[in-house]
Symmetry: none
């Protein structure tokens, strides 16, 4: 069973947006154990979409098309698939009614154009939409199949997982499972991690049934991920192999590991605060609300997060955060901010960021100089100094996770 | 003259890295006035690279291949091109010597594998490498041509600009340029925009020399973009055509347009505040710092943004923001927050968000119910109510741009 991906949209060819949909679909196909040998991008042109579909069907058993299901004149994926199936389009009244109701629920009237989204090639099956207006399609072409998905990433992902992957696996008769787990680290370089894990990489060799493989993924501000992947007869065997390997790796890496899979740094900090029944307030200069916004995305953050202050203007720092006169990029300022925000917002723990995002020097400090202030119960407020690489946006993003990591290590050391 | 892009690498198909090289090459081809109708990704497999090359050459005049020129066994782009040209590979002694010297200059010995990088299909021309070890290749196939570029992005870009684009333009005899402009909108559905712009779409027809085409890009929380693309004899003519069309579209869409190209909603808000010499403070409940963090990413935001308060705990809302007793998801609470944060932080303008991100109801309100509070000089604080679709994260993200847009419209109405 081989599947290809076809991403539709002139904007993809012109490089106006990066085609991350194909990347995601490629990942999911690999996880589902479906081979994918080609991925193609094509513009909003009927003849060329038809040609791309025929080329893909000549090489593979299934084609996952994404994009071109919108309501406008340049959304012609439906027409192209109908041409390849050699059938007409027919308006599906049930789908039309759903779209109408969706608009009604938002208090809007459906535009005439949206009716096109209810057009279905005769013989195709509709994948009910959830959250968007475009339904997906499962279109048989002889013994092969074309799936159509909307190009809006979150709609595409939801539909891929709910309807496409199960259908593909059933067609493929895939029985063995591929499972993976990501171990998330912060603070060491990829080459240093590779050195530390060398004994495990040696021991695992080339992998094989039930034996995980190890790969490194540099993920920028999310740290370096160590990905374990294993093929096994069933989910239980796969899980057991992943658990064993994770334990072995955690022994080698220690506190460098802050979580697995979807566990973010802010999730790790929250878990530690919750265990200790502590509440956090943050004061942000350099990071301007990024720390707070990542924290509130953690489910249940209201149990341990009270809020924060973004002190962008110096006057706000001095008036509200009792930062002493003098340079605002300093260890003293960071510590004072952490202490003051905790008091102001009524929390036991304070975390603060101040620094130079760049591109120019400030307070006599180089771009990338960042101070993280921390207040923990029963201690004086302290600060750590960091030197972060990169441009303005990168320094800011790196500051967020570095600050959270500094707090994590402080909490662990108690 | 039509060119295609072929990106080589199994890691691209597996989704381990995003193929940004093709995106970049697509941009550059468009700028150079070279049509690009297809882009393909293929893995490190000789047979399939050969198939992908033949498919591309059957549709286009030139193929830009990137990746697979490295020194390891899975770097086989050279072999695949030689197969398509139907010629053997020959080791180029001059290239080999250069690679050797490069290693010597770095104080290392050349590994035996690196000698493979000096293999050149007979009849191909070498593009001298600068900064990497892999030279590029210009490979004639009949009257058509295959270019090979390394996959390392900065090496690829340098070689593309230095050697490939000039060669392509010369072959094409291209003198015209393609330029585009994006008009950014918020508040109308894609289909409603299409209806409003129907007169322009009709008038422009299929485009043509000097006549722009119109396309829509749904960009989630960034709103819907209207993209104009035009082919013209030179940059000046292209710019003039884009300016004329932008003016016509702005007339039809009015305040729905908040910017062009890289101008974000927060940029638009900042420009209005700056014009009016006003300063902004934000109070965020639902959005938890996202509004502030987007604002501080705007260059020069310190001229008009003083800071913000993230009031996640209800106690923070009542103690610091004077929110009256009662439901915190209400128009009254939002207005009170906007007024209080402006006073607390010393700004003339206040903006506040409170709402239900979901998944459960709160204060008797459905998920997606959001109140945006605003204080402007010389007026009572007010609030608008929004109903936003989607999950928790999406509601929060949509709230950010909706809140900024509400403030933009208020500022415009003065």
């Amino acid at each position: 069973m081989r599947a290809e991906v076809l991403a539709v949209g002139t904007e993809l060819l012109l490089g106006q947006i990066v085609d991350t949909n194909s990347t995601y679909i490629g990942q999911q196909l690999a996880r589902a154990g479906i081979d994918c040998h080609f991925q193609t991008k094509v513009g909003d042109n009927l003849e060329r979409i038809v040609l791309a579909l025929r080329t893909a069907l000549s090489r593979s058993d299934a084609v996952v098309v994404c994009g071109g299901l919108g309501p406008t004149q340049d959304d012609i994926t439906r027409e192209a698939i109908a041409a390849v199936m050699n059938v007409p389009l027919e308006r599906d009244e049930a789908v039309l009614e759903e779209i109408r109701q969706l608009f009604a629920a938002r208090g809007r009237e459906m535009a005439a154009n949206n009716a096109r989204q209810a057009d279905v090639p005769v013989g195709a099956r509709v994948i009910e939409q959830r959250g968007g207006t475009a339904p997906g399609l499962v279109c048989p072409v002889g013994r092969k199949v074309v799936y159509a998905l909307p190009g809006v990433p979150y709609e595409m992902r939801e539909m891929l997982e709910r309807a496409i992957l199960p259908d593909l696996r059933a067609r493929a008769g895939v029985s063995s499972v591929i499972a993976s787990r990501t171990i998330r680290t912060w603070g060491l370089s990829e080459s240093r991690l590779a050195e530390l894990l060398d004994p495990r990489i040696e021991a695992l060799g080339q992998g094989g049934e039930g034996v995980p493989t190890i790969a490194f993924l540099a993920s920028g501000i999310e740290g370096i991920k160590v990905r374990l992947t294993v093929k096994a007869p069933d989910s239980e065997a796969a899980e057991a192999a992943l658990c064993r390997e994770e334990a072995a790796i955690r022994l080698l890496l220690g506190k460098t590991v802050f979580g697995t899979d979807e566990e973010t740094m802010e999730f790790a900090v929250g878990a530690l605060l919750r265990q200790r029944s502590l509440h956090l307030a943050v004061a942000e200069s350099l990071t301007g609300g990024l720390v707070a916004s990542r924290i509130v995305a953690v489910p249940g953050a209201s149990d341990w997060f009270v809020g924060g202050l973004v002190s962008y203007a110096t006057a706000v720092k001095t008036a509200l955060l009792s930062v002493p006169e003098g340079p605002v990029v300093s260890a003293e300022a960071a510590a004072a901010m952490a202490q003051a925000v905790a008091r102001l917002l009524g929390a036991e723990v304070g975390l603060a960021t101040t620094g130079v995002a760049g591109p120019t020097r400030q307070d006599g400090r180089e771009p990338g100089t960042v101070f993280v202030g921390m207040l923990l119960p029963g201690r004086e407020a302290t600060a750590v100094e960091l030197q972060l690489p990169g441009d303005r946006e990168r320094v800011r993003q790196m500051s967020v996770i570095s600050a959270l990591n500094a707090l994590r290590l402080e909490l662990l050391s108690r």
